[in-house]
Subunit: 341 residues, 2 copies
């Protein structure tokens, strides 16, 4: 029988609502921290055995319905030689950000087969080690979010350099996003060839845009990317702060639209349309609440979308390091228990 996760991606009836957690292999988990004692973040990403190990361990510890390959959305930028660094105590930094037409023109095409083979090897290893009934999700950053790091050089509250380039030199912007679309399509399709059974596109920061800017500067690229993905493989299209953008995200594509906690899930689904599945949408911070509060919130989300096939339970964004592992497990068990049909 097909897994509840893949059934839900296709809006087919499921024995229980499937759940996985963004960043389910992460710092909140002691087994992950033990591996990180032996590797820097980038070294861990570059090591297929270790990446596969933390991928599989998270599934074993949590009992979730899907695995997601351990990697980072910015690995695809390493071949560009822009000085990607993951330092302790801060987010990723790009030491030589791309801010002009000249900068864009100097970028080489990204040869994912040559430079990102360690990811595909990790996918192969993880797929081999996972139980047959647990699907493996591949992923990438979406072109906008990856570009925002490449241009601003770090996480940003205003995205001043990203929006400056977008507004002042649309030609350079579209050239850059075209390059990222080509690389990302190859990257996701190679993950699929290596064994990924679904892919998630993380457009984590796209919610900083107005709907009009999204439609003009992002949607055509995201659509081109999604249309390039191997047919038949479910695509989860995820962003945060998207309560004003949901229709536009849907128009860009995706079998499943990821929704964060800033909007009620039933209201979000009504706007997206019932011809798509949805994924979400518990506030990751809710896992800091006492067990009874967590149960109450899970019940509220499940009730909001009850009786309609096509809901994958998840957090609205990645699990945070301060999360008690017991609470993550409680969440998974509660979703399974309350949604059992």
């Amino acid at each position: 029988m097909e897994s509840p996760f893949l059934l839900a991606c296709r809006r087919q009836p499921v024995p229980h609502t499937p759940i996985w957690l963004m960043r389910q292999a992460g710092r909140y988990m002691p087994e992950y921290r033990a591996v990180r004692d032996r590797f820097s973040f980038l070294d861990l990403c570059h090591n297929p055995e270790a990446s596969a190990e933390v991928t599989v361990t998270a599934v074993e510890k949590l009992g979730v319905d899907a695995a997601i390959i351990f990697a980072d959305i910015l690995l695809i930028l390493e071949p560009l030689g822009v000085g990607l660094e993951f330092g302790p105590g801060h987010g990723p930094i790009i030491h030589r950000p791309v801010r002009s037409r000249a900068d864009v023109d100097q970028l080489p095409e990204i040869d994912v087969a040559e430079h990102l083979s360690f990811v595909f090897e990790a996918v192969r290893l993880a797929r081999r080690e996972l139980p047959a009934h647990v699907p493996l999700i591949g992923f990438s950053g979406a072109p906008f979010t990856v570009a925002s790091y490449l241009i601003d050089g770090r996480g940003s509250r205003t995205y001043v350099h990203t929006k400056s380039l977008m507004y002042r030199d649309a030609g350079a912007w579209h050239a850059l996003l075209g390059l990222l679309v080509r690389a990302t399509a190859s990257y996701l399709n190679a993950q699929i060839a290596a064994g990924a059974q679904a892919v998630q596109l993380f457009d984590s920061w796209v919610g900083c845009l107005s709907p009009a800017d999204y439609r003009e500067f992002v949607l055509p690229h995201t659509r081109a990317l999604i249309e390039s993905i191997t047919p038949g493989v479910p695509v989860i299209h995820f962003g945060t702060d998207t309560a004003g953008l949901l229709e536009a995200l849907r128009d860009a594509g995706g079998d499943v639209i990821g929704v964060d906690w800033r909007i009620d899930l039933d209201a979000a689904w009504a706007r997206i349309g019932y011809d798509r599945a949805v994924q979400g949408n518990l506030d990751p911070l809710a896992l800091l609440a006492p067990p009874d509060e967590i149960r109450k919130r899970v019940r509220s989300i499940l009730t909001a979308v009850e009786g309609r096939p096509g809901h994958i339970f998840n957090l609205g964004h990645g699990i945070i390091p301060e999360t008690p592992v017991d609470h993550a497990r409680l969440l998974v068990d509660t979703v399974h228990e309350l949604s059992a049909r």
Copy 2:
């Protein structure tokens, strides 16, 4: 004749769409930077003459339809003795954040008459110096946003301490917000007594909450605050990332609902209801675009709400330091020109 700004607050017809800009007296403006060469940020806030001066200068330089008193939403926390600091190169920091019931219980009531008289004096001076036809807006932080700084101790991406207190000790949370409501009501009413003709409530970070959490933990407090404000004085209720929260913000109150750029203004107004005015909603970053692009975006917003009284033009959040002053002026002129009736 009453000013276009006050007419629009009451949804009455106007000769042109009124406009003012959040943080219109700010670092993007050379006159402001010249004053800041003489004062630290806090010293400037504490000096009524200088605060009034930058308030009035912004109106003179931009030609906007309203002034807003120069101050900061965190000044109300100074009497608590929690170690508020505005350092160079980072946002505000609270050195002794409030994180437990015991911390909350130790907080004194805030005596705004005793501790914040410099703000009321600035309001009196600014009102005296402003042209009669330019209304003066008073403001405060909304209880949630002020509490989030007080608890997390600095700007936060996850609000881990704020949400922890909220979820783990609802009693402490409601006690803290009650204290902030009492202080903020006195603070706003004293600004009104000193000459403020409208007030804006900044719930800038409230968009980090789910609609259910907003309704349970914030709405009753914001509603109590708004109901305490001197009758007849228009209240602008503003937040960012609120595209999933607009109905709940409206239910909390406000004659005018401030909307950010992450949702189309006409879609937002339809959800808020036409018995309220709206304020917004150009992306502040759009002011980095070339003049033609700025004009196009202004036209698009004006067209979306054309023919319905009750729109105040503004940015969706504060103007950023990188903004060319010429572009801010162009924005004001363009709104006036394109909306002239």
